[in-house]
């Protein structure tokens, strides 16, 4: 066992080092404690994958994000081993171009850009496209012309025309299905608008969601009226942009062109960070300056975006764990499975609280019903758990399916629940039900949910998310707190209730023939023992005070004399012998 001193020293050191790290970051880099004082900085990373063809020069052209109101691009960089990189401007469209003489096998290129959400920024790279002459073959040309003419007569300006066209396309008829089979939705809308004499173009839009990976661009239509334009969704006809949508391509050209490669695909991952308002100002000033120097010195920020968004969740876990430790050790809430509540809380973060709670109760409830039937089959444990896992997956599948069919897309989020953990929860609760009755199941299930709820509330708070992500030192502080709590030997809150009758009884009754409360007597005896160990012990064992005259007595007793000074080795050996004989 490590001595207490070392333990407290290590704990204090961890705590102080953690605090110092936090203070250092706060003072040196102005990392704020409160997330409200910051601007959103979106880091978007595009990952381009393709298979290079052998012995052929490779040219990859990737469209750069458009300049647009609401977002200012702070910096951009590429990561591409063995490729030449060039930023080019081709007919008003900006590209980053990677070139290489020859490459083979799977290739991976990265483009990374940071955007500052900036309501004051008003620039735009969107240009009014020239009106193209329609050269579609029959019968498509006629069908396009019909929709265009019909829409034109029912509308007042290019924007209402667009709404009419999109609405006309939702009708299920022969000519529409013919057109939809031939053209992509955006392409079709653009062609119809152009045949009605309205300038329009396809744009690629990226929806920014914190911590998402493997996203792709969604296609929209930009419709122009003079120098103004509006963005339309070609399927729903909804116009306008939401604040978290970013136009990536606005030139009508493709987002990715690969010469000398096959199976090219691009996927985006993104991450939201807070930067202090003051720093946001600096960033804006530096937009035109050459990028390269790391502006924000968080260590996590130097990782690739995909890993960063993973870390964002991982760094929250200790907060949840701390809450579990607190509620179990200090409060004494019973949970089923030690850290199950934290994992459930993590799932709640992905879904939303109501959906999560309903989903959890529904899945566990349905699982328990199925599991009670399984227990009649007398299966072995591994098979039983496996059966429960499959049942849980079926439940999750059917919940998503039914809610989706019923028009509730929220239901799809139940897939975020950790299935193996849920299965174990069901298994444990079912055993508990059989052994201890339903009351205990509700107690532990309710306890687990309560702990999960507390952990969720803590981990969901923007304040705590900001702290855990920006201050790595906080992890050390959390660790030291967990260590301290692990050393807590006081009562749990639940024990104050459990032992309430006992405390009341000890206070008011005395056991058997006792003349003095036992705790008083034993404490007094312990004091006597501490004050004069040898004599007291001797008196207790032989019921006579120890002094020289008692020596004769002790020799006849089975116990060798308790020598107050240094017991001789011989006496020790004798003692051991007598002890072993006794056993």
């Amino acid at each position: 066992m490590v001595s207490r001193g070392v333990f407290y020293f290590v704990t204090a050191a961890l705590f102080l080092v953690g605090l110092c790290l936090i203070a250092y970051q706060h003072i040196n880099f102005e990392v704020p404690f409160i997330p409200g004082q910051e601007r959103q900085l979106w880091t978007v990373e595009a990952k381009i994958e393709f298979d290079a063809q052998l012995n052929e020069p490779v040219t990859v052209a990737f469209a750069l994000p458009a300049v647009q109101p609401g977002y200012s691009q702070v910096k951009q960089s590429t990561s591409s081993l063995g490729y030449g990189v060039n930023y080019v401007d081709r007919l008003g469209a900006k590209y980053v171009e990677w070139t290489r003489r020859s490459a083979s096998g799977a290739q991976l290129l990265f483009y990374r850009s940071e955007f500052l959400a900036d309501p004051e920024f008003n620039g735009s790279s969107m240009k009014v496209p020239p009106l193209r002459q329609s050269v579609e073959p029959e019968p498509y040309a006629t069908a396009i012309r019909e929709i265009a003419e019909d829409g034109y007569s029912h509308s007042a300006d290019p924007f209402s025309l667009t709404v009419q066209v999109i609405r006309a396309l939702t009708v299920e008829n022969e000519s529409n299905s013919l057109l939809k089979a031939q053209y992509r939705p955006t392409e079709l809308v653009v062609k119809i608008l152009e045949s009605a004499g309205v300038q329009a173009r396809e744009v690629g839009v990226l929806t920014l969601e914190d911590g998402r990976r493997n996203r792709s661009l969604t296609e929209r239509v930009a419709v122009f009226s003079g120098s103004k334009y509006q963005i339309f969704d070609p399927l729903s006809g909804v116009s306008g942009m939401r604040s978290n949508e970013l136009i990536w391509t606005d030139s009508g050209a493709s987002v990715l062109d690969v010469a000398g490669g096959r199976n090219a695909r691009v996927s985006f991952s993104m991450l939201k960070n807070g930067v202090p308002s003051t720093q946001a100002g600096n960033l804006r000033a530096e937009i035109n300056r050459a990028a390269g120097a790391e502006l924000l010195s968080f260590s996590i920020n130097s990782l690739p975006i995909e890993e960063q968004s993973l870390f964002k969740n991982i760094l929250l876990l200790p907060v949840g764990v701390l809450i579990v430790v607190f509620l179990r050790i200090i409060v004494g809430i019973k949970t089923s499975g030690t850290f199950m509540p934290v994992l459930i809380a993590m799932a709640f973060l992905q879904t939303s609280l109501t959906v999560g709670l309903i989903g959890f109760v529904a899945i566990v409830g349905a699982g328990l019903v199925v599991r009670s039937w399984l227990s009649h089959l007398n299966l072995l444990l591994v098979a039983r758990i496996s059966a429960v896992i499959i049942v849980v997956i079926c439940i999750i599948g059917s919940v998503s399916l039914f809610t989706y069919k019923a028009g509730l897309t929220e239901g799809l989020k139940v897939t975020f629940f950790p299935m193996i953990i849920l299965s174990w929860t069901i298994e444990r609760m079912s055993i508990l039900w059989e052994e201890e009755g339903y009351k205990e199941v509700f107690k532990q299930g309710g306890g687990s949910l309560f702990v999960a709820l507390c952990a969720y509330l803590a981990m969901d708070s923007a304040f705590i998310q900001n702290l855990t992500f920006n201050f790595l030192g906080l992890q050390l502080v959390l660790l030291s707190l967990v260590l301290v709590m692990g050393n807590y030997t006081g009562f749990r809150l639940s024990e104050l209730k459990r032992f309430k009758p006992l405390a009341a009884q000890i206070k008011s009754y005395r056991n058997g023939d006792e003349k003095e409360s036992e705790h008083h007597r034993l404490k007094r005896e312990l004091r006597e023992l501490k004050a004069d160990p040898h004599n007291t012990l001797h008196r207790w064992l032989h019921k006579a005070p120890y002094d020289g005259s008692a020596r004769a007595d002790t020799n006849t007793a089975q116990e060798p004399p308790a020598d107050p000074a240094a017991p001789s080795p011989a006496a020790d050996a004798e003692a051991k012998n007598s002890a072993s004989k006794e056993h």
Partner: protein
């Protein structure tokens, strides 16, 4: 001004009401500390964590190992008829049982009485086994039970298990009427070889024949000096009569008391674990026998004895040269200091 005064009065009333409610429901931690009531964290950190070596836990968790070391140390425990460790041995179970008509089949890693099969006799004509409930089972049923046990149906976490077949214990008649359809066992907490506190757990109709206190079994605190009942408790509250049999619980007196304590005390030398609960049964013919050990004994024993564990444990911690004392001396010490009734 009047308004302010009445407001003040109201708030002070509300505060005192709230305080009363809290005091009615929760004990003061200061009182509990003064009485030396031990909490879960205290037990885990300062007693189990400090005095029970992790590598010795298997001796206690595996009943077969417990039995082996008990035999080595001449600690009495129910006679082992045989044990099965592998599936292929199941076929030979009838040879193993031989002429025994009364026996008990147990999982080595079981807990809470799960998977224990008690056979009271054999049908001479068919060779079937008669369970304690009177139902008969065939040899095939018995084999299936053993197979399930070996596969881990009754063990914690479903680990592969062993099977023990023991001679049946005939409960001492003194206990008739004290327990409703179940096994009365004596739990002695032994700290560094000193018996510290003792209780008997009596099953009731509410506890469904199980000796689990939180399921409604009756706990009877036992005076260490005399073996007499100190106090009987059900659902944390004192009772006087057994809820099913109406027997006066406080008249309970455990026979062979000295032997029980010495048996419990010697479990320390046998297991090496500093803080254990020993479960002892009293056989009509053979006297006290060790049923099993528990390295994480519960805290409800304090409620049954109307006393905290800590003053007793601290007195023993204050002793020096404890290892020199013999079993008899340790028992004498415990009787002298932790007794409730005068002899």
């Amino acid at each position: 001004m009047k308004l302010l005064d009445s407001l003040k009065e109201q708030t002070s009333q509300a505060v005192s009401r709230l305080r009363g409610q809290i005091a009615g429901r929760y004990a003061s931690p200061l009182d509990m500390t003064q009485y030396g009531i031990m909490g879960m964290n205290q037990r885990n950190v300062n007693y189990i964590g400090r005095y029970n070596r992790r590598d010795l836990f298997p001796l206690v968790d595996n009943k077969l190992l417990t039995k082996k070391i008990a035999a080595q140390h001449q600690v009495k425990s129910p006679t082992l008829i045989g044990s099965l460790q592998n599936q292929h041995e199941v076929a030979g179970i009838s040879e193993l049982i031989g002429a025994h008509t009364e026996f008990c089949v147990k999982p080595a890693h079981g807990s809470g009485g799960k998977g224990i099969l008690v056979i009271k006799g054999r049908d001479i004509a068919s060779g079937n086994f008669i369970k304690s409930s009177g139902a008969t089972i065939t040899l095939h049923d018995l084999e299936r039970h053993v197979t399930n046990t070996l596969a881990g149906l009754f063990s914690l976490g479903g680990r592969p298990d062993f099977v023990l077949i023991e001679e049946l214990i005939h409960f001492d008649n003194v206990f008739s009427g004290y327990s409703y359809d179940g096994v009365p066992d004596t739990r002695v907490i032994v700290f560094q070889g000193f018996p510290v506190m003792c209780m008997m757990r009596l099953s009731t109709a509410a506890s469904d024949g199980k000796a689990n206190l939180h399921q409604g079994a009756v706990g009877v605190g036992i005076c260490l000096r005399t073996g007499r009942a100190v106090r009987a408790v059900q659902y944390n509250l004192p009772i006087h009569y057994h809820p099913d049999t109406d027997k006066d619980l406080l008249s309970l007196r455990v026979p062979h008391w000295q032997e029980v304590l010495e048996l419990a005390s010697s479990c320390y030398d046998m297991s090496g674990l500093g803080y254990i609960g020993t479960d002892i049964v009293l056989d009509r013919d053979k006297g006290p026998m060790l049923l099993e050990l528990n390295a994480r004994p519960g805290l409800a024993i304090q409620i049954c004895n109307n006393a905290g564990l800590l003053p007793r444990l601290r007195l023993i911690e204050g002793l020096f040269k404890k290892h020199r004392l013999t079993v008899t001396q340790r028992v004498e010490f415990a009787k002298e200091h932790f007794g409730v009734y005068e002899a």
